[in-house]
């Protein structure tokens, strides 16, 4: 039995990050549908607060997880969606920042900013807007 458990543990997929959706103190709490609309450019303000979502670069593990778990899309779908939207003149995708540290700094310093980080990187300056 112990050998079976050890094998089970060894064969388990690597632990994935625990994502939290974070925002500036001015941003109200979100539900998933609203978050999806924000990251697809359909919602630009909430309760009078102008929103500025930010993303991590394509194929970043956190971004991949965010797209899959919160937006329910894969990278191809998401990039394809914004390629069309951009070339029909209806806006541009969220700004991309290099790292989770950049996201944290941006969210702390910009009213209306929204981003996502690993739960382990959370700091008291940011507000958790949504967590699955």
């Amino acid at each position: 039995m112990p050998i079976f458990l050890i094998l089970l543990l060894l064969s388990a997929p690597p632990a994935i990050a625990d994502l939290s959706i974070i925002g500036h103190a001015t941003v109200p709490l979100l539900d998933q549908a609203t978050l999806q609309r924000i990251y697809t450019g359909k919602t630009v303000s909430l309760n009078g607060v102008r929103l500025t979502p930010v993303n991590l670069p394509p194929n970043h593990p956190l971004r991949t997880q965010f797209l899959r778990n919160y937006l329910e899309r894969d990278e191809n779908d998401y990039t394809g969606y914004w390629t069309v939207r951009c070339y029909v003149g209806k806006g541009v995708p969220p700004q991309e920042l290099h790292s989770a540290a950049d996201v944290l700094q941006f969210v702390v310093n910009h009213a209306g900013a929204i981003g996502y980080v690993d739960e382990g990187d959370l700091t008291p300056e940011v507000k958790v807007l949504l967590k699955k």
Partner: protein
């Protein structure tokens, strides 16, 4: 005119630079670009769709462009898009033009205002027609995507959106004007008015219209109504050509195409009124199948012209991994009145015993070409291979059959554009960055 557009492009580019330089730090500047390198060859020695014949061409589908989007967190934005492609003023040059240069404002989630040089969403893919990676076809069906010589206008657009749980409704209204050339091909010259060959007549277009769209996860529907006045640079436009019988009551005679010919006067109008009705849908079916249907009606209520058309296409595609094979049927047909007039005029030949018969006969054929008739159907089979969401290869076989006459064909001297069968093979590489 080209110089004027280049001057405008330069001015707007300078304005963009000034705007970018004076922007607050919080503004986001995004530079993107797109390009298609496309080759097409047919099995015919005459030209089809402006460039394609059995010698092959890269002019028909190749395009390169760049776009700058400046967005400010307050909801203001500025978009500039330029492209270089085959000229829309002649069939020989390559030229750079400004597609978009507009200011946008998103005061709230459900409102979008844009002012400046805009591209109208006339059909489902009109706004992104230069960006090949955004649709699977090698080229959008020319039968439908040639309703107007240009869909880029200087004007104002307002969009109101209603967001439901699963459905999004959008109502867009616009008003604007533009200057563009309408292309004709004359097998025979109409001296001294026009020489034979390709002819580009410049028009001022004033446009107003509205488009209603419904978008959901499974499908997209769009309906549009548009009104345009087209004013010819050279003066009033002919709307009716009188038939001049050689003897009273006789069917032997000619259509008066040239004002110098004897007979009652040609009827002119200050401009053409053009009504456009567009309808389109994309339906996502199970197993990654997609059905696309679009229809466009171009109606000239005053004039009897071949450009008064019904056009549409039906496409079926399926995504299989990185491949998107597709097939479509497309067709265009002039309204009966215009097509019948063009056909009658085209075959109206006076016997040589009539004085000036040769000259009159040439004028009849030139008149048929000037009426711009369309009757053709196309069947295409092709596939896109997606290297990624931003680059793809495409391959297509297109088979076109013309009916009585088709202005997409440059008919050889002394022959007709009707009754033709054309096979076109195309290959393209499409990329965005």
């Amino acid at each position: 005119m080209t110089a004027y557009i280049q001057y405008q492009a330069l001015s707007l580019s300078l304005l963009t630079l000034v705007l970018c330089a004076s922007l607050p730090v919080s503004a986001d500047v995004k530079l993107s670009g797109f390009g298609t390198l496309g080759g097409a060859i047919s099995d015919q020695d005459f030209i089809y769709q402006r460039f394609i014949d059995d010698r092959g061409t890269a002019y028909r589908d190749s395009v390169i462009g760049a776009q700058v989007d400046v967005t400010h967190p307050d909801g203001w934005g500025f978009t500039l898009q330029t492209k270089a492609a085959a000229s829309s003023h002649n069939d020989t040059d390559w030229e750079a033009v400004l597609n978009w240069a507009f200011l946008s404002w998103r005061p709230a989630n459900d409102w979008l205002l844009r002012a400046g040089r805009l591209r109208l969403p006339l059909m489902l893919h009109s706004a992104n027609s230069d960006v090949g990676v955004t649709f699977p076809f090698v080229r959008l069906p020319t039968e439908l995507y040639s309703l107007l010589p240009s869909v880029d206008v200087n004007g104002l657009s307002v969009t109101k959106t209603w967001l439901g749980d699963t459905t999004e409704w959008m109502l867009e209204g616009y008003i604007g004007k533009t200057h563009a050339d309408w292309r004709y091909y004359l097998r025979d010259g109409l001296e001294p008015l026009f020489q034979n060959g390709t002819l580009f007549l410049a028009y001022d277009f004033k446009m107003i219209g509205t488009i209603l769209s419904r978008v959901s996860e499974r499908n997209t529907w769009r309906v549009g109504i548009h009104y345009t006045t087209a004013t010819w640079d050279a003066g009033p436009t002919p709307i009716r050509f009188p038939f001049v019988p050689l003897m009273p009551g006789s069917s032997l005679g000619y259509y008066k195409i040239n004002p110098a010919l004897p007979g009652p006067p040609i009827r002119y109008a200050k401009d053409y009124d053009v009504y456009l009705f567009t309808l389109g849908t994309e339906i996502r079916l199970p197993q990654h199948w997609q059905l696309t249907i679009e229809y466009g009606r171009r109606h000239f209520p005053e004039a009897v012209v071949g450009a008064d058309t019904h056009a549409g296409y039906l496409a079926l595609s399926k995504q299989i991994g990185s491949w998107t094979p597709y097939c479509y049927w497309a067709g265009i047909r002039s309204d009966n009145q215009g097509l019948n007039l063009a056909k009658t005029m085209n075959r109206n030949q006076l016997p040589a015993s009539v004085p000036n018969a040769a000259l009159i006969n040439i004028s009849q054929r030139a008149g048929a070409d000037l009426i711009n008739p369309y009757e053709q159907q196309s069947l295409a089979f092709g596939t896109a291979y997606h290297l990624s969401r931003t680059s793809s290869f495409k391959l297509e076989w297109l088979h076109t059959r013309t009916g009585a006459l088709s202005s997409f064909v440059n008919a050889p001297f002394g022959e007709d554009s009707g009754g033709r069968q054309i096979n076109v093979f195309s290959l393209s590489y499409n990329h965005t960055f």
